[in-house]
């Protein structure tokens, strides 16, 4: 077999992406590719073209039994007894949010919301999803809250009445406000989140208190902000706060 070089690489790349190289030649090709990463992009591009062939066969329906068999194996191998959201916490830890197991749990919970929220344009839909999760996971939140240190607890008149509201930093500067035990507000009112820098408040999200809890993404960065506050505003929100904060935290 000829030694691999640039010319030979070019000669073989089409067969490579089609899976048509004999084993020895394939290994030689891949060694060369590993040593010349600048050629990876063209191989990927060519591979995408070859990969289109995978879409071309006539459709065949797999049997339901296949799904059962696959899921049986998967269920047997999954991490036993752990919640989805606890495992999401592990996922985040792999991405350098090594905040301790309990903190990961909370961030995992909240990150789950963000993952969802990335997919849903409608903010109200996002909040509803988050509410469902918060309801399911209140006990985990309690445990995590007692131990974790990456969230900011909001104070204020509602907190004194028993409301629990926390802001958590997420990866990529995403932040989210989780609130429970909030007093209800009239239908023509809404809670509005403000990120305040100096004297300038920026509207950063709306939510409707819910007995099961809410999780709301905060749409402005808090990195250089001074205060996060929540006020009760007319439905649809206000351009500027029109009432005193019911919850706030100095950053």
């Amino acid at each position: 077999m000829s030694e691999m070089n640039n010319e030979r690489f070019d000669d073989l790349k089409d067969a490579y992406v089609l899976g048509a190289l004999p084993e020895e030649e394939r290994l030689s090709f891949e060694e060369y590719l590993a040593a010349h990463p600048e050629r990876q992009a063209e191989v990927d591009e060519l591979g995408a073209v070859a990969g289109l062939l995978a879409f071309s066969p006539p459709e065949q329906e797999p049997s339901p039994e296949l799904r059962s068999r696959v899921m049986e194996v998967v269920e047997a191998r999954r991490v036993g007894g752990r919640s989805t959201f606890a495992r999401v916490g592990d996922y985040l830890s792999f991405r350098s949010l090594a905040l301790g197991a309990a903190a990961l749990l909370v961030i995992g919970l909240l990150s789950w919301n963000v993952l969802l929220l990335d997919q849903v344009q409608d903010l109200q839909g996002q909040v509803e999803n988050a509410q469902g999760q918060v309801k399911d996971l209140q006990s985990e939140l309690e445990v995590a809250r007692a131990q974790q240190s990456q969230t900011i607890k909001l104070k204020g008149s509602w907190a004194e009445q028993g409301a629990i509201a926390e802001v958590a930093s997420m990866k990529k500067n995403q932040i989210i406000l989780v609130a429970r035990n909030m007093p209800s507000v009239p239908e023509d009112k809404t809670c509005q989140i403000w990120v305040i820098k100096g004297d300038v408040p920026k509207s950063s999200g709306l939510f409707q208190p819910d007995e099961n809890g809410t999780a709301t993404p905060i749409s402005n960065s808090i990195r250089k902000a001074d205060v996060i506050a929540v006020t009760v505003e007319p439905a649809g929100g206000s351009e500027q706060p029109t009432s005193d904060p019911v919850l706030l935290a100095e950053l």
Partner: protein, 195 residues
């Protein structure tokens, strides 16, 4: 539980695969439901019979379950990645078998075909499939045949050369031209090659 199921449905494949990394079986089930038909269709095209195809699809999906962390978003979509696993495992299996099927294919390959793209002749159901089909229809039969033998049947370029009685350089040239023609099809329509 049903509520959570709905939540998974709104997640993108890339988010689901991240959850599969941490052994989230529901996320995996959602991915399976989205892509099992395409995966099985490819497996069936490669293996030619139902049981072997299901075994291949099962094998591939369990590799997805165990190896989700090896998915690289910059290299293509999750769907393409899953299909590449099916393809690679299928090639491995085909090559490990001294099967009657390949002997049979050898006979078929040596016989002239009035419609070499017969394998793609069924009506395709979605737009991507239609696009790919259209692209493949632009290929001369001799190029398509070689791509099929390589991609679906696991023949190496040397084996195809022997099988069809063509010089190896001709086989390589047809592979190159065939792939180029597919790419040109998309470029001529200002469309990116689906990934």
């Amino acid at each position: 539980m049903a509520e959570r199921g709905r939540q998974y449905l709104v997640l993108a494949d890339e988010d689901l695969i991240s959850l599969v990394e941490v052994a989230d079986a529901e996320a995996f089930a959602t991915l399976y439901d989205r892509h099992s038909r395409a995966a099985f269709s490819l497996a069936y095209r490669m293996m030619g019979e139902r049981q072997a195809s299901e075994d291949l699809a099962q094998d591939a999906f369990l590799k997805v379950w165990r190896g989700a962390s090896s998915y690289r978003a910059d290299r293509g979509s999750v769907r393409t990645w899953i299909l590449s696993i099916v393809h690679n495992r299928g090639i491995d299996q085909i090559r490990s078998q001294a099967s009657r099927r390949r002997t049979q294919e050898k006979i078929e390959a040596s016989a002239p075909r009035s419609q070499p793209s017969e394998a793609f002749a069924q009506i395709l159901r979605n737009s991507q499939r239609d696009q790919v089909r259209e692209a493949l229809d632009t290929l001369p039969p001799e190029q398509l045949k070689i791509l099929e033998l390589a991609y679906f049947s696991g023949y190496t370029h040397v084996e195809i050369s022997d099988l069809l009685g063509l010089p190896l350089g001709t086989v390589k040239g047809r592979m190159r031209l065939g792939l180029k023609k597919i790419r040109d099809y998309f470029e001529s329509r200002d469309a990116a090659v689906p990934r």
